[in-house]
């Protein structure tokens, strides 16, 4: 079964065409990396999957449900199966780190407060932040925020995890730690959709790849297919990122 499927999706903001008739499939349990330079529509594609952006044309299927036709409670039900790690983590700054992670549990489960607290601590421990439970997001470094964001995204053990630029703005060590966490998550059976322009990071995480350029998919497939591509832009991108 496919976890996510794009069918001829196009999206424009005003006169700016961001996605232009793109189609791809992501099998359940795999890690799919959307690659490309900044501003090529990768994050917009990711936002389509969770229904934050609606396509002008085409359809986006999540676990075989067309998310472009859903609204209200039906859309919320599909979203509960997904976790989203935002580029800047997007932690709720009025809540402690622990409350951020507990938030999805408080909203969507009938677990007791003690149970939720315990589970939130466990999720934070998974990302090495169990001692930061009572801290406010403003007290964390960029890498810690990202890890806390990952803990929140994983709070309900989602079937699909969407990750926007996991290594952006992080030092190589921290970026490596995040990559390891994502690989661990994938091994647990979660489908990953990762938007990145960091090829070394994608090599560690990904099973399937697609390179976006000016809203179109230049090439998709395995890493070997990308390395073997004769498309000059793909070659330049892979070389510039230390690939091949």
């Amino acid at each position: 079964m496919n976890a996510v499927r794009f069918e001829h999706v196009s999206k424009a903001f005003g006169t700016l065409k961001v996605l232009d008739d793109i189609s791809f499939e992501i099998p359940a349990g795999q890690a799919f990396c959307l690659l490309g330079r900044s501003g090529t529509g990768k994050s917009v594609a990711l936002r389509h999957i969770v229904g934050l952006v609606r396509p002008d044309r085409g359809n986006v299927f999540v676990e075989d449900r067309d998310i472009t036709t859903l609204a209200g409670r039906e859309l919320a039900d599909v979203r509960k199966h997904m976790g989203f790690l935002f580029q800047n983590a997007a932690l709720f700054d009025s809540m402690s780190v622990g409350d951020n992670v507990a938030f999805p549990m408080r909203r969507h489960t009938d677990w007791s407060d003690a149970d939720i607290r315990e589970r939130a601590k466990s999720k934070l421990a998974d990302v090495g932040l169990d001692h930061e439970f009572d801290k406010m997001p403003g007290d964390l470094s960029g890498g810690m925020k990202k890890r806390a964001g990952l803990a929140r995204a994983m709070a309900l053990d989602p079937a699909i995890l969407l990750v926007d630029e996991p290594s952006a703005g992080l030092d190589p060590m921290t970026a490596g730690e995040i990559d390891e966490l994502l690989v661990k998550t994938k091994r647990g059976g979660t489908t990953l959709v990762v938007v990145t322009h960091n090829i070394p990071s994608a090599r560690v995480i990904g099973d399937g790849f697609a390179v976006l350029h000016e809203g179109r998919i230049l090439v998709s497939g395995t890493l070997e297919a990308l390395d073997a591509s004769e498309e000059p832009l793909v070659q330049a991108f892979m070389r510039a990122q230390g690939g091949g």
Partner: protein, 266 residues
């Protein structure tokens, strides 16, 4: 050609204004519809009542006390000429309860709470926290806007009662300092000309003020763009627009109140 350009610009401005008003009206109407649909987010509403009501109380009480003292001094200066000092408590109470209290409380809350809502929701918008709420299967409009609108509609009349009470207290302090009038006599005189029809409509109209402040500032927060600059702008515009709407709506509301409760003369 230059005339055409000017007409174009004015036309675009007029269209833009009506689009803006239409968007806010739609936002406010949607809030009313969503308010009666579950989930009711009671915990959020109570949190906001605490933030907007309890935490605004010191400002409202201080302002009310000062206004009461100042109004009392001005009223005394005028009424002394006619030997009507005994009317000071009643005059002050009527002015405060019917108009000064509700309007001043509305404007103060527009400044304190309106700016806060605009800035808070605006900051959440530019830092993707609103998207994060949606991605977590939470209706951000309901969670952020509707809860604040309901909370402020509840808090506003309570703050107005505080303002009225502290204003009358301020009037007593000023009067006692000058004439040595007793507390009991002051209050007896203050409420001798006050009817429920003075208190209830004037206090309840602030529910509309609360609705307007929260709708405008939530809307401006939700439509914030351009980073921190946009957040500052949303905050400032929230105060300006909410204050203008309070003043304009007050004129209409007073007219409506007079229609149902005609002022008694003589």
């Amino acid at each position: 050609m230059q005339q055409v350009a000017v007409v174009d610009r004015v036309g675009a401005g007029v269209i833009g204004f009506f689009e803006f008003v239409g968007a806010i009206a739609t936002f406010g109407a949607r809030a009313v519809v969503e308010a009666v649909r579950p989930p009711y987010e009671l915990r959020e509403i109570l949190t906001h009542i605490y933030q907007f009501g309890y935490r605004s109380a010191p400002l409202i009480l201080t302002a009310g006390l000062a206004i009461g003292i100042v109004l009392s001094m001005h009223t005394r200066a005028s009424l002394e000429r006619f030997g009507a000092e005994a009317m000071i408590p009643a005059g002050l109470a009527i002015a405060l309860i019917r108009e000064t209290g509700p309007l001043t409380a509305g404007l103060l809350v527009a400044g304190r709470v309106g700016a806060g809502i605009g800035a808070e929701i605006g900051a959440m918008k530019v830092t993707e926290q609103i998207d994060a709420l949606e991605a977590n299967a939470v209706d951000a409009f309901k969670y952020l806007a509707v809860t604040r609108i309901i909370a402020l509609m509840i808090a506003m009349p309570l703050l107005t009662i505080m303002m009225d009470f502290s204003g009358i207290l301020g009037g007593y302090v000023a009067e006692a300092a000058v004439s040595g009038m007793s507390w009991q006599l002051y209050f007896e005189r203050a409420f001798s000309y006050i009817a429920y029809s003075d208190i209830i409509p004037a206090t309840l109209k602030t529910i509309v003020f609360g609705y307007l402040i929260a709708v405008v500032s939530s809307y401006l927060g939700f439509t914030t763009s351009r980073g921190t600059e946009g957040v500052g702008e949303a905050s400032t515009r929230s105060v300006v627009m909410a204050s203008m709407l309070i003043i304009l709506s007050d004129v209409i509301l007073v007219k409506i109140i007079f229609f149902f409760y005609p002022p008694v003369s003589g």
